[in-house]
């Protein structure tokens, strides 16, 4: 009987969380919204696995909503590019939802639990939509839903710190500007081609193969809008306050997945659609994205060193890490795009794990976690601290962690493109990452204050350790991540070479 549903799996992974979110919004209970969310996300994972199975057979699924054929109706596309991300998304959302229960109970009023999980599922559904959609206007819709859901979730942090409201408002305004830019670009594209479907867009754009100012203007608007949303330097300013003042569970979800999904769409747009204007594309990649990535890497790392607030520190480190990903994507070849995807996977795990651990510390400390407040935590909360240590070593990129694999492939890609200066900069920046991370370690283990170890909550540290162990496992056995990334790059770059 499930077969009927399975046919609609591509739609259900998005629609199911959105539907359930409406149902649990007004539940006054403390626990039921969470249980329902977990069940929903288990189903979500099951559907994602089903999609993986389908993809491994057919290689491509185009799902037409309401059976309206693509150029007219909205369609979802699942292929080698996004199936890996879909799986990561499904699994990580489930883990972070497990993690979120105790965290939410501590950080927000329990009567708001239903609303929180309603927004949570809304964010999950819409972010998943970004991964799957094949329609540039539909993407705008998902972008807006996810932005509004995230903003409300961030604002829930106001119970802890009123600055969360300011951060949310900032995100609202800047995010709206980004979305406006994007939708103006979509408008230009629609005016010129009369289509919104990505595959059709490629065909229609071919008639302007000699280039049209309106097309280039539209493309630029779209790219800049997405850059704002993906927090690419220098339009990243909404991200650090938003991540650091949001409730800890929300920071985890956003830091691990929100920008990653938008980065994915960004690269898809670049290499699948805009590829038909190679000169425009290489202009954008070489003279905009590439230098900005280098700046992001360097400036993000340096600012992170001077942060006292740990969540802010991690947020600025995210800016640098997003820089690594966009640096890889700006390389225009298979190795570059593949290494960008490798880092999308690995960084999602690393930053997710770090935010989870720090989020738990915030609850234990009952205040914002600063460098000073971490004194002696290594002895006080050894289990979580040790997980934090491993995630941090992976962030630096030491061997036997997945961060090393990212770095290896990034170096390889840069080397084959003979970008020796970038290699040097990446190496220096990873050494600087040691500085900010070691400040944390020093406070946790080598300060003068000593504590006896205290009991830690297994419901919280288990999800943290699941992420941490996956970091080590993928550092040693990196084949799955490498294969998914190569698959993505194969699909995207084959278009480039044609």
């Amino acid at each position: 009987m499930f077969d009927i549903f399975l046919d609609d799996a591509p739609a259900l992974v998005v629609v199911l969380p959105l539907l359930i979110s409406a149902i649990i919004a007004f539940m006054p209970s403390k626990i039921w919204p969470w249980i329902i969310s977990i069940i929903t996300l288990l189903l979500h994972l099951f559907l994602s696995l089903h999609l993986l199975k389908e993809i491994s057979v057919s290689g491509l699924i185009i799902y037409e909503f309401g059976n309206w054929e693509p150029p007219w109706g909205i369609s979802f596309k699942i292929d080698g590019v996004n199936i890996g991300l879909q799986l990561l998304f499904s699994i990580f959302v489930l883990v972070s939802t497990f993690y979120s229960r105790k965290i939410f109970l501590n950080e927000i009023d329990y009567r708001d639990s239903g609303k929180a999980y309603s927004l949570w599922l809304l964010a999950v559904g819409s972010l998943n939509g970004i991964i799957l959609t094949n329609d540039i206007f539909n993407l705008f819709v998902f972008l807006e839903i996810s932005a509004l859901a995230s903003i409300s979730l961030i604002a829930l942090g106001a119970g802890q710190n009123r600055k969360a409201l300011l951060a949310a408002f900032n995100y609202l305004i800047i995010g709206a500007i980004g979305a406006t830019f994007y939708v103006i670009g979509v408008g230009f594209a629609y005016a010129m081609t009369g289509t919104l479907n990505m595959n059709d867009l490629v065909i229609q754009l071919a008639q302007y193969s000699d280039g049209q100012l309106a097309i280039f203007a539209g493309m630029s608007f779209m790219l800049i809008g997405l850059m704002v949303k993906a927090a690419i330097f220098p339009v990243h300013i909404w991200l650090p306050p938003a991540y650091s003042y949001a409730p800890s569970a929300v920071s985890t979800l956003l830091a691990a997945l929100a920008t990653k999904t938008i980065l994915y769409f960004f690269v898809r747009l670049l290499y699948e659609v805009f590829i038909i204007y190679p000169s425009y594309l290489s202009l954008f990649l070489d003279f905009v994205l590439y230098p900005l990535s280098l700046l992001a890497i360097f400036i993000g790392t340096v600012i992170a060193i001077y942060q006292d607030d740990i969540k802010k520190l991690l947020a600025f480190s995210s800016i640098a890490q997003i820089g690594y990903i966009t640096l890889a994507f700006s390389l225009k070849d298979h190795s570059g795009v593949a290494s960008g995807f490798v880092h999308i996977f690995n960084h999602a795990l690393i930053k997710g794990g770090l935010f989870m651990a720090v989020g738990y510390f915030a609850i234990l400390y009952k205040d914002r976690v600063t460098l000073n407040s971490l004194k002696g935590f290594g002895y006080k909360y050894p289990i979580t601290s040790f997980a934090l240590l491993i995630c941090g070593l992976s962030l630096i990129g030491l061997p036997l962690t997945n961060g090393f694999i990212s770095k290896l492939y990034l170096f390889q890609a840069l080397y084959t493109n003979q970008m020796y200066l970038s290699i040097a900069l990446v190496a220096v920046s990873s050494a600087l990452a040691v500085v900010y991370f070691w400040k944390i370690v020093e406070q946790m283990w080598f300060s003068e204050i000593k504590f006896k170890s205290e009991k830690e909550d297994a419901y919280i540290y288990l999800p943290i350790w699941i992420v941490t162990i996956s970091i080590i496992v993928f550092g040693i056995y990196s084949t799955p991540i490498i294969e998914f990334s190569n698959l993505s790059a194969d699909y995207l770059i084959s278009g480039y070479q044609n």
Binding site: K407, Q412, V428, V434, E442, I476
Partner: protein, 483 residues
């Protein structure tokens, strides 16, 4: 026992020593005994492997593949068998010494100290036996991180800033230079395995080899070549057992060992000799030798003086590797043993003087020679060995290095080595001279700490005795040189 099992056992025993020390943390005697027991077992294993290598046995084990062409694997090379023998044998003595020192000086947090001490030895052994450059790098980093708590042991402002300097220089250089160099080698050759004769020949562009050598020698910060030497004097804030075993033997020797391994098994001496890409390094090493000897003279603090002496002596090994001729490599490899034995003696003595008389400065040693005769005797033996006076073991390695530089027709280098010996005499024997010739007016109360006296005596006498058994080691070393 199968050969691969022996490797696992040797690497894992120090970890068990650390674990048991933690479990028995409430019983001081039991806790500290695990260092000695672990040292004895690893020593026996290292000795067995050392002999096995002489008989052309193969010791290797592969765990899993990390990425294309690079496994997580251990394989004992001739060079590695020497290093592991040195580290494990001196660990026994250092453990005994540690008990005497830490209790005599009344240091806090002794459990943490013992645990990280064992972990550092674990990393050093794993470096010695690593099967490829990446595994070496992994344990190189573990060694850095595990010695950080030891350097910052006192947890005051001075030791904390020293610890930061230590960590930032060592980790920084390794991430900026060493790791990219490893990637570079891998991209060019597709492997990182250690092979006799090297893997770079015909695969790596000869015109960039000098650059690669520079990345390696500066990336391996533990080799402490100038200008990347500041961490070593800074690390002297650590308790003396750390300075003795780690910053005269395990850590710094891991550095020069890594560089030597790269020259012998990755780049290949033949390739170096053909391209002459390391000749510039000969001069940098000579500069380091001279400059740090001169700085050592100006230092009144005994441990700081020994630290600069270590920097100078490490550059002997870099020099030998850079010369890359068979005699020079022989000298460099042998210098790992001779310097370890001599320098650990000197540090043991410096620590023993501190514990018994609370003296740190050379100028305060007036008249102490008569009060602490055994310590001064041991110190003299160690100093003579490092200076290179026959019949002390140190004379062998210096002899080979000088021969090596003449073989490569670097006559000036041979002269510099001679001058450096003269400087050694001045700054190493000055404490002895002050100790026996001048009289102190101050009345100094002595504390008895016999456990700090015996280890330096043993190593000091070792310097003398092993002079006559040099061939025992040289057999293995000859296996290193294939050209």
């Amino acid at each position: 026992m199968s050969n691969s099992f022996l490797i696992i056992l040797g690497i894992i025993i120090p970890l068990f020593a650390a674990l048991f020390s933690y479990v028995c943390r409430y019983n001081n005697n039991l806790r500290d005994s695990f260092g000695i027991i672990g040292g004895l077992i690893t020593f026996v294993i290292s000795l067995k492997i050392f002999h096995g290598i002489q008989n052309n046995e193969v010791y290797q084990i592969t765990f899993f593949t990390l990425f294309d062409g690079v496994d997580f694997a251990f394989k004992v090379s001739a060079l590695g068998s020497i290093f592991s023998l040195v580290a494990s044998s001196l660990w026994i003595l250092a453990s005994i010494y540690t008990i005497g020192y830490m209790r005599g000086a009344g240091e806090k947090n002794q459990t943490r100290f013992v645990i990280f001490y064992s972990i550092a030895i674990h990393a050093a052994l794993a470096i010695a036996w690593s099967g490829n450059l990446l595994v070496l790098f992994i344990f190189y980093e573990i060694l850095t991180f595990s010695t950080f708590p030891l350097v910052g042991h006192k947890q005051n402002a001075e030791s904390q800033s020293a610890g930061r300097l230590y960590l930032s220089i060592l980790v920084g250089t390794s991430l900026i230079f060493f790791l990219p160099a490893i990637f570079w080698i891998w991209l060019k050759t597709g492997t990182l395995d250690f092979q006799d004769g090297g893997i770079l020949m015909n695969k790596f562009p000869a015109e960039y080899l000098s650059f690669l050598i520079a990345m390696l020698v500066f990336g391996i910060g533990k080799a402490a070549i100038m200008p990347i030497h500041r961490w070593l004097p800074a690390a002297m804030v650590a308790p003396t057992p750390v300075s003795a075993l780690l910053h005269a033997v395990a850590v710094v020797k891991a550095g020069v060992f890594s560089f030597l391994v790269v020259v012998v098994y990755i780049v290949g001496p033949d390739f170096l000799l053909q391209t002459k890409s390391s000749d510039w390094l000969v001069w940098l090493a000579c500069f380091t030798i001279m400059a740090s000897s001169i700085i050592a003279i100006t230092k009144d603090d005994l441990k700081a003086r020994l630290a600069y002496s270590t920097i100078s002596q490490l550059s002997y090994i870099i020099l030998g590797a850079a010369l890359a001729s068979s005699l020079a490599l022989k000298g460099a490899s042998f210098h790992i043993i001779t310097h370890a034995l001599g320098k650990i003696t000197l540090f043991f003595c410096a620590g023993a003087i501190y514990v018994t008389a609370h003296i740190k400065k050379v100028s305060d040693l007036k008249g102490m020679g008569y009060k602490l005769p055994l310590i001064f005797f041991a110190y003299t033996l160690g100093a003579l060995s490092i200076i290179g006076v026959p019949p002390f073991i140190g004379s062998w390695s210096k002899f080979y290095l000088i021969m090596g530089s003449i073989e490569r027709e670097f006559i000036i280098v041979a002269i510099i080595l001679g001058i450096s010996s003269l400087l050694n005499i001045y700054y190493l024997l000055q404490p002895v001279v002050i100790g026996f010739t001048q009289n102190s007016k101050k009345e100094i109360k002595l504390i008895k700490a016999p456990l700090t006296v015996w280890p330096p005596l043993i190593t000091g006498l070792g310097c003398l005795v092993f002079f006559f058994y040099a061939n025992y080691f040289l057999n293995n070393i000859s296996g290193v040189i294939v050209n």
